[in-house]
Subunit: 148 residues, 2 copies
Amino acid sequence: MATFRFGQHIVKSSAVFLKTELSFALVNRKPVVPGHVLVCPLRVVERFRDLRPDEVADLFMTTQRIADVIEKHFQASSLTIAIQVYKFIAYTHVHVHVLPRKAGDFDKNDSIYDELQKHDRENEDVPSKWRSEEEMAKEATELHSLFN
Amino acid sequence: MATFRFGQHIVKSSAVFLKTELSFALVNRKPVVPGHVLVCPLRVVERFRDLRPDEVADLFMTTQRIADVIEKHFQASSLTIAIQVYKFIAYTHVHVHVLPRKAGDFDKNDSIYDELQKHDRENEDVPSKWRSEEEMAKEATELHSLFN
């Protein structure tokens, strides 16, 4: 079974729904909205500037492919795609957030930016708030099937 | 003199500080933070999914190059890179926001996401809030010199 790394962490392959030559995509432990997924380089790289050109190309061509599938599957009205959304970030592993957006998914005072900040803090610190491995594996299998 | 288009709009070449084979980068009429710039495909494309693979690769390799220069030049502590940050967007022209981040540049209740929403609305609707062409040309010249 393939092994995936997110910085110092091992990612269970059951959470990974797509792998390309240089990138992989995984479902979220604590999605900010349904369908919020992450796209990462296979190589462990802390910062965007450290990616090689072929890794940048593969990462965003993969992101484009995933964004299109996610938008349709979650019947979104638009998408947000973002990297390095933090003011002060403990760099771990480059990742691109892909979020399908719908009417009313955030109020003005509860913005996606704040939610993404909370998201990564909670992913680091509060395992009790994570989804179960089974739930994540189920979603990953469902998403994987959309790429075949 | 080269002509650049942003959807239906003509971009003055004096605001453009970098051009590659398939992309160009311009300074902002109303930057959300100092050093907030935009990277776009040369071809007029409304949505991310409509870009060809070579355009995606060039767009993000160019974004990476620009982000590195912008981060150093504006002495930022981190970067935000985002596309399609809106819930309901009037699609015009694909563009990648690059924002250098510093301590205290946004309060919790005045997040970058809200600022980016306001940013594009004001760019569309309130020309009196734009910077002068001279100010923009000065910054573009300064940034251009960093790529030589």
